[in-house]
């Protein structure tokens, strides 16, 4: 059984292929990492899978359904969520409200109920606040509940993205460099969170430069280079792969020595 299946996926930007006829599958219930140097096409791959970009060629299947070209909000309803490498925070809201947006699909979205405050909107909103607060506690942000997002430090915003993504109760969660710019202590906390999320039954796809984090949490690793698959396998298999050693781990890109 595969959760996500990518077939012959390509995307070109102005003549160069950012993602080049990529094939891979992700089985449910584990942590998959996608690594590769900057510009390898990792973020573009996330954008293709989550409907931000349309592919130039190829298909994406989620739980057996062809989701190629579907808008992100449709995918969210099907159980897909993600975080963004370049933070996408609602800076016009408090931290808690950011997470409440993640609950959108579980809430009463009828216009009439909203305008006239009918159908228990007030009570449902209180419950949504509680659920969002619970998620913020889960990612360790209980100190920021009613803080405006634009007053929060960078590390906390990374956690906020995670809490918001979890709010939509995804079955597949794509994390784009969740530890970039974090200090070692924060990175360790993120590693713990990723494990907890995976244990709760959410399949995690992790794009990350911090090799200690990747090697520490991953069940499966996919290595990208110039948009193509360079290698794939368990952590040990990938570590032992001569192509990977030559092209990636041997270069300065290894060990998370550079940032995002």
């Amino acid at each position: 059984m595969t959760l996500l299946k990518v077939e012959a996926l390509s995307r070109e930007f102005g003549g160069i292929l950012a993602v080049d006829s990529l094939h891979f599958e992700i089985a449910p219930g584990s942590i998959h990492s996608i690594i590769g140097p900057n510009g390898a096409g990792k973020t573009t791959l996330f954008n293709l899978v989550t409907g931000v970009y349309a592919p130039s060629a190829g298909r994406v299947h989620f739980e057996g359904r062809d989701i190629t070209g579907l808008a992100p909000h449709r995918l969210a309803a099907m159980g897909l969520s993600r975080t963004f490498q370049n933070l996408q925070i609602f800076f016009n809201m408090t931290a808690l409200e950011n997470v409440m947006v993640g609950l959108h699909l579980t809430l009463d979205r009828r216009l009439g109920a909203a305008l006239f405050r009918l159908g228990g909107v007030a009570r449902k909103e209180r419950r949504a606040r509680d659920a969002a607060a619970e998620l913020m506690r889960f990612v360790g942000l209980e100190a920021y509940l009613d803080v405006d997002a634009d007053a929060m430090p960078y590390g906390a915003l990374k956690g906020l993205e995670l809490a918001r993504a979890l709010a939509s109760k995804p079955r597949l969660l794509l994390l784009d460099e969740p530890a970039a710019g974090l200090n070692p202590v924060e990175t360790e906390e993120v590693a713990g969170l990723i494990r907890k999320i995976a244990q709760s039954g959410v399949t995690v796809v992790l794009v990350e430069h911090d090799m200690r984090l990747v090697m520490g949490v991953s069940d499966h690793v996919l290595v990208l280079d110039y948009g193509r698959k360079l290698a794939e396998g368990t952590v040990d298999e990938v570590r032992a792969n001569p192509d990977v050693i030559a092209a990636y781990l041997g270069s300065g890109a290894a060990g998370g020595t550079h940032g995002a």
């Binding site: 909000h73 609602f90 959108h104 009463d108 909203a114 939509s168």
Partner: protein, 326 residues
């Protein structure tokens, strides 16, 4: 005062509404004659339009440069359908609002799927077209001379005169503000704010951004149309003077000055910029320049607008005065 009561009064949906109701109730004591009533009614009608426009601009982050056109369509629907076709005023008002809603939907639907400022350009064009149509279709609209509009009837009673219309517009404003506050404090309102904050993040959270952008545009257009109908029946007259591009810019300026993403800000902005030109009579020639200047200076020096800036300053004062936390 009990904590619960304090919290209720601090809530914009109760405390703020009570405050606005109090201002509307007390204001007539300071209005010596019908001219002042007329200014107050004008401010109230503009405020209604601005509360709707603020949902679009302030909360959802989209721009309309053609809202005076929607106000005008509402006004002319009431005028033409009652005079030329003999409709009941309330039926004409409803039909105008429906028609405007459909027009707004048809315009916004294809445009709002695109990113960027296409809506600003499209509404600019739409506003200009509406203005041209009411000017040239003289057979129905009276052209540049305008046309008279019959009074609104309410249970057999004719609604006529400033003193009556002051309370009608006041009640309509309170109702509009209540709707706006309710909307913003709901999942729908949060979705609108999310569209403004980050479209990619809103989408992956499950928010159909195109749907909400179209929805808020239609809501703001319908509110503008209804305010236009009310204004037509109050004045008993419609003319193309207030349908044009400059009036649309005035409405945007009111929203920006009062404070984007603030329902009460929209009311304050509309009130100030309706009263101000009355104080500066004799300077009509410079009105366009003055509005342009106010818009520029606000954006540069007080981008959040009057009401949000005022509350930030007040809160900081309270905090630095060492006031114990509530």
């Amino acid at each position: 005062m009990s904590q619960a009561l304090k919290r209720k009064l601090a809530d914009p949906r109760t405390g703020g509404l009570l405050g606005l109701a109090a201002v509307i109730a007390v204001l007539p004591l300071f209005l010596p004659n019908n001219f002042y009533y007329d200014v107050a009614i004008g401010a109230g009608l503009s405020a209604i339009v601005c509360v709707g426009l603020n949902l679009l601009i302030g909360y959802a982050g989209q721009i309309s440069l053609g809202h005076a056109g929607f106000v005008g369509l509402g006004a002319y629907s009431s005028a033409v359908l009652t005079v030329e076709f003999g409709w009941h005023p309330l039926a004409a008002m409803t039909a105008g609002a429906l028609g405007v809603g459909i027009l707004a939907f048809l315009v916004a639907r294809p445009i709002l799927r695109l990113r960027g400022h296409y809506l600003a350009m499209a509404t600019l064009g739409l506003g200009i077209i509406i203005s041209i149509v009411v000017n040239t279709e003289a057979e129905y609209t009276g052209g540049p001379d305008g046309m008279t509009v019959p009074s609104l009837m309410f249970f057999g009673r004719e609604l006529y005169g400033e003193a009556v219309w002051y309370w009608i517009v006041g009640a309509a404003l309170l109702f509009t503000v209540w709707l706006s506050l309710n909307l913003i404090a709901s999942p729908v309102g949060r979705a609108l704010r999310a569209v403004h904050g980050s479209e990619p993040a809103a989408e992956i959270a499950g928010v159909d951004t195109a749907h909400y952008k179209v929805l808020v545009f239609v809501i703001s257009a319908v509110i503008a149309s209804l305010a236009g109908s009310l204004g037509a029946h109050y004045a008993g007259f419609v003319s193309p003077a207030n349908v044009g591009f400059f009036r649309s810019i005035e409405l945007v300026t009111m929203v920006v000055l009062g404070g984007m993403a603030s329902t009460y800000g929209a009311v304050v902005g509309a009130a100030i910029l309706t009263v101000l030109p009355q104080l500066l009579t004799g300077l009509e020639d410079y009105e366009h320049i003055a509005f342009g200047l106010i818009l520029m200076l606000t954006v540069i020096f007080m981008p959040r607008g009057l009401v949000p800036s005022f509350f930030t300053i007040a809160r900081n004062r309270l905090a630095s005065a060492g006031a114990p936390p509530p």
